[in-house]
């Protein structure tokens, strides 16, 4: 075969439209995963062994099953489950399936963020008699959240690349658009290349941005340095 720019131009509008669905779905799934990840983290902190055991098992189960199987289950099998089964549209399935799958990893990120805060910070907050709420909002979370941001960003990119899985249950994202175009014209190379280029064009800058964020948060507490050496140097330069 030969490369045809015509196919590229022809498929572009379709794929561009699909891109918005892919992007929107990524954001939807991720928002769901972040919210549900919080629920898991909260449940796991309940100091009661049976709850921790059950939650731990559920998380392990979700994590060790492929997301594709979970999507198929939700889409094809769930409606047939007696009493509780309902038919779900592809988008809802995608959000529940992918979002649910990723919520388990995101819960792990939250946990690592919280655990990264030194035990002494809790003790000092107690010694100052801060309420439980103030401990979290003033002391713990401001230290726990920044290091999680690059990790969350990484998962956002990973999720973005997993969203095409939802083409299998009929979500009309970029991949689905390319496939539709191909089945009509028998040209697959151009539209699929285009899809790959789109993914690259979005993933790569995001990855660079995240690396920047990572570096920034690593030196965060030294950076806001209003009376440190930098300013003094400047003062000297201005005087001299």
């Amino acid at each position: 075969m030969t490369w045809s720019w015509n196919y590229v131009w022809d498929s572009f509008p379709l794929i561009f439209e699909g891109m918005w669905i892919t992007l929107g779905l990524t954001i939807g799934c991720f928002a769901f995963a972040m919210a549900f990840g919080f629920v898991w983290t909260f449940l796991r902190r309940i100091p009661w062994k049976p709850v921790q055991k059950v939650v731990g098992f559920v998380l392990e189960f979700i994590r060790s099953t492929p997301p594709l199987v979970q999507l198929f289950f939700l889409f094809y099998a769930w409606p047939m489950v007696p009493y509780v089964g309902v038919t779900l549209d592809p988008i809802t399935c995608a959000v529940l399936g992918l979002g649910g799958h990723f919520s388990t990893y995101i819960s792990e990120i939250y946990r690592s963020g919280i655990e990264s805060v030194d035990k002494g910070q809790w003790e000092a907050s107690t010694a100052l008699n801060l309420s439980t709420r103030k401990k979290w909002t003033k002391i713990i979370l401001p230290q726990a959240i920044p290091p999680t941001i690059p990790m969350l960003g990484n998962y956002l990119i990973i999720m973005f690349k997993e969203v095409p899985l939802t083409a299998t249950i009929g979500v009309t994202g970029m991949l689905h658009a390319a496939e539709t175009f191909g089945s009509q014209t028998f040209a697959y190379v151009e539209p699929l290349t285009l899809v790959a280029v789109f993914f690259l064009a979005m993933s790569y800058p995001s990855a660079v941005l995240i690396r920047k964020l990572e570096a920034k948060y690593n030196r965060r507490f030294d950076k806001k340095n209003p009376t440190g050496t930098n300013k003094m140097d400047k003062g000297v330069a201005l005087n001299g």
Partner: protein, 260 residues
Amino acid sequence: MAEPIVRYKDVHKSFGDVQVLKGIDLDIAPAEKIALIGPSGSGKTTIIRMLMTLEEPTSGVIEVDGRPLWHMEKEGELVPANEKHLREVRGDIGMVFQHFNLFPHMTILDNCMVAPVHVKGESKEEAKQRSIEMLEKVGLGDKLDNYPSQLSGGQKQRVAMARALVMRPKVMLFDEVTSALDPELVGEVLEVIRDIAQEGEMAMILVTHEMEFARDIADRVLFLDEGTIAEQGSPEEVLENSKSERLQSFLSRFRSSSPS
């Protein structure tokens, strides 16, 4: 003796099977300065952590200003305290830690202001003014906008003291506050503690290995050994005329290693 500000009544503490404190009875008078000495693992830290509510006693009662700390009265009976009760009583206690535990994401000034504003409900202006005064008192009036990472260990520890002091506790606890410092920075921190002690109104419990310093500022020295208060008395009694052989051998370790 006046009504004690702190009273331990037959307090025991075990970690799992390990019995760390085996019946502590101790009355501390308001404004009394106590030095707590003893070998490593004898339970010094545990005693003051229970008073700071960081560790719950296995049995016994601790009272602060006449109120039980870990218990509250409910229908005439003592039941385990809830968080609300703990917060009420804990307000009288302050603590300085071996490793400072400053809040790294806040400036020095904010470190001092956070509790007056969010615990006592003071206005920002009032809290700020009092915090600045306190930071000036510990010699850090020029570091208000610095972050903890920009300070030396001795400076950090002085901030930690200012942060505890702005809460105006009735009892201050010091857990080996100089042992994580470079030797040349120990002096500046001890100097601040000495100043606080001379002002007088606060009771203080110092866990320390600085025997000279303990002799200088303590009204009473307690020697803790194997989970009990083995000896106590004035600094002269305990540090110079100790009765037990264990205390003598404990003290001799400091004499031989002490350069002065």
